[in-house]
Amino acid sequence: MEELLYYPGCSLKDTAIGFEESAIYASRQLGIELKEMERWNCCGTVYSLTADNLMKQLGPVRNLVHAQEEGYEKVYTLCSMCDNTLKRSNRLVKNDPEKLEKINSFMDREEDYLGEVTVKHYLELLRDELGWDAVREPVREPLKGLNVAPYYGCMLTRPKEIGLDDPHNPTVLEDFISSLGAEPVDYPYHSECCGSYNTVEKKDIVLKQAGKITSSAAAAGADLIITSCPLCHYNLDTRQSEYIRRENSSKPVPVLYITQLMAVAYGNSDVCKFDKHAIDPREALALENKALKER
C-alpha cells in the first residue's frame, strides 16, 4: 500500500463527505492509502488575483508549508477549487521570490516555504502515475451501457498555466469514464461555469446555469453527470432540483463525484453517501435491479 499525502479541503469533511469516503475506498482498491495531512487549513478559494494582496495567499502557502514539514514533495487534492487555489498560489510564490520572502517572514512560527512541494489533482494521479489500465483493473461492476456526461467546470482546466488538460478540448474525464466501462457523452457545456459562488446571493444565475447544463447533458443522452468540485456539485445537484421544481421541466439528471463513480464500479456504493444528494443517483445507476447489484 503506497501512502500519498492528501489535502481534503473543508467541504470534503462535511457537506461533501461522500466524495472523501469514496475516494479513500477507491484509492485502496488501487493500492493507494490517502494519508490526510496532520494540520491543514482552509485553502482560501477562489485564488486572489490582486497582485499586492498577500494576506489572501497565507492560507494556501501555509498548507504547502505543512506538506513540506511532513516531509512530502507531492500533495494530492480531490476538490477542483482547492487544487486550483493551491496550484496558483504555489506558482505565484515559486516565480516571485520577493513575495515568498514576505510571506515567510510574516508566518514567523512555521518553517520557511522552500517552494519544492508540487500540488497534484487526483485525476493527474490516475492519468499520469497509475494509468487508465490500473484504474480499469479493480472494476467488478463494469458500467456498461451507462452514459456519463463529464463536467469539468472552470477550475480543473483553467487557467492554462496550471490546468490539467487543454481548456478548449479536455479529454481526461472522457478517458476516466471509459476506463470504468461507461460511455462518455459529448455535450457543449462541459466547461461552462455553473455560477460558482453566485449561489449565495444571486441564486437565479445558478438555477439558470444548472438547468442549461443538465438539460443539455440529458439531451445528449447522459444518464448522469460527474464532477470533482463540491460547489459545482451543489449547484448542479441541489440547485437543479430547485430549478426542476420551479420550471417542472424535464427529468432530473443525478450528479456524482468522480470517485463515487469509481466506488460504484468497484462494487461498493455504501461509501458514496448518496442519501446526501438532492437527486438520488441510485435509480439512474440502477443499483437495485440491473447488473449492478449490491454485494
Binding site: K13, D14, W40, N41, C42, G44, M55, L58, R109
Partner: protein
C-alpha cells in the same frame, strides 16, 4: 519583597505611553497599581480565569505586538503596555434547543468564519496559547467536537476578536460550539438522571428525615464512624 528600597532593582515601563519606574518582578497589573492607578476596568479575578485584564504591549526595539494577561505577565524593561477595557465583538443570540440539530450552526450563525484567511494572528494573540486558527478552521468544517475541545480553556478575553482581520468573534463562536457539543453531543449521565428521579420519588425522604433529627452527639458519632470509600 523584603529587600530595602534603595538597592531594589527597577524597570522602566510605559503605561499608555507615560513612563514609570517600578520594582522588577511585578506583574503588569501590580506595576500599574504600584504606579498609582486604581483599576476599575481591566481587572477581575486576578488569577488568569476571567480575561478582564487583556493587555497589548510592545518592547523597545522589537517590532512585534504582544498580548497577554496583566495579572499573569511580569513587566520587562522598556515595556509599552495598554489595557483593553472592552473588546467589541458581535455575539449572536440563539435558542440552544433548536441549533445544532442539523447543518453547521457555527457557519450559519457566524458566516464571517468563512472569511478566515488563515493568517494565524489570533493564535499569536491568545494568552492561553490555544490553537485559535485551528479551531476556527474546524468551525468551517462543522466539526463541533473539535472546536469544543480545542477551545475549552478559552477565558473570553476577546484579544483574538480585536485583532482578527476578518472580524471573526472567535470566543463567541467557541462558546456556541461548546454549548452545542455539551447539549447535543455529550452523552447525558444515566446515574444522575436516575438519582434525581429517586429523590423526587421520595426514596430518601425517610433516611433524610431520620438524620436531620439526630442529636449532635449521635450525629457526631455517626460522622466519626462513617467509612470512606
Amino acid at each position: 519583597m523584603s529587600p530595602s528600597n534603595e538597592d531594589q532593582e527597577t524597570v522602566r515601563i510605559h503605561i499608555m505611553g507615560k513612563e514609570y519606574e517600578v520594582p522588577k518582578g511585578l506583574t503588569m497589573m501590580d506595576a500599574i497599581e504600584h504606579s498609582g492607578y486604581r483599576l476599575i476596568r481591566g481587572v477581575g479575578c486576578r488569577g488568569g480565569f476571567c480575561g478582564a485584564c487583556a493587555t497589548l504591549y510592545r518592547l523597545e526595539g522589537d517590532y512585534k505586538l504582544y498580548a497577554d494577561l496583566a495579572c499573569q505577565k511580569t513587566v520587562e524593561d522598556g515595556m509599552y503596555l495598554m489595557q483593553l477595557p472592552f473588546t467589541p465583538a458581535g455575539r449572536k443570540t440563539y435558542d440552544i434547543e433548536e441549533i445544532g440539530r442539523d447543518g453547521n450552526p457555527l457557519l450559519e450563525n457566524y458566516p464571517e468564519v468563512a472569511r478566515c484567511v488563515s493568517c494565524n494572528t489570533c493564535t499569536k494573540a491568545c494568552p492561553q496559547d490555544l490553537e485559535v486558527m485551528d479551531f476556527i478552521n474546524e468551525a468551517i468544517r462543522g466539526n463541533i467536537e473539535n472546536v469544543a475541545s480545542m477551545s475549552f480553556d478559552c477565558i473570553q478575553c476577546g484579544i483574538c476578536a480585536a485583532r482578527c482581520p476578518a472580524e471573526i468573534p472567535h470566543h463567541h463562536v467557541a462558546q456556541m460550539a461548546r454549548r452545542v457539543y455539551g447539549k447535543h453531543n455529550l452523552p447525558k449521565s444515566d446515574h444522575v438522571a436516575a438519582r434525581v428521579r429517586e429523590i423526587e420519588g421520595g426514596e430518601f425522604d425517610e433516611s433524610l428525615q431520620e438524620i436531620t433529627s439526630l442529636s449532635r452527639e449521635v450525629l457526631e458519632e455517626r460522622y466519626e464512624s462513617r467509612e470512606i470509600e
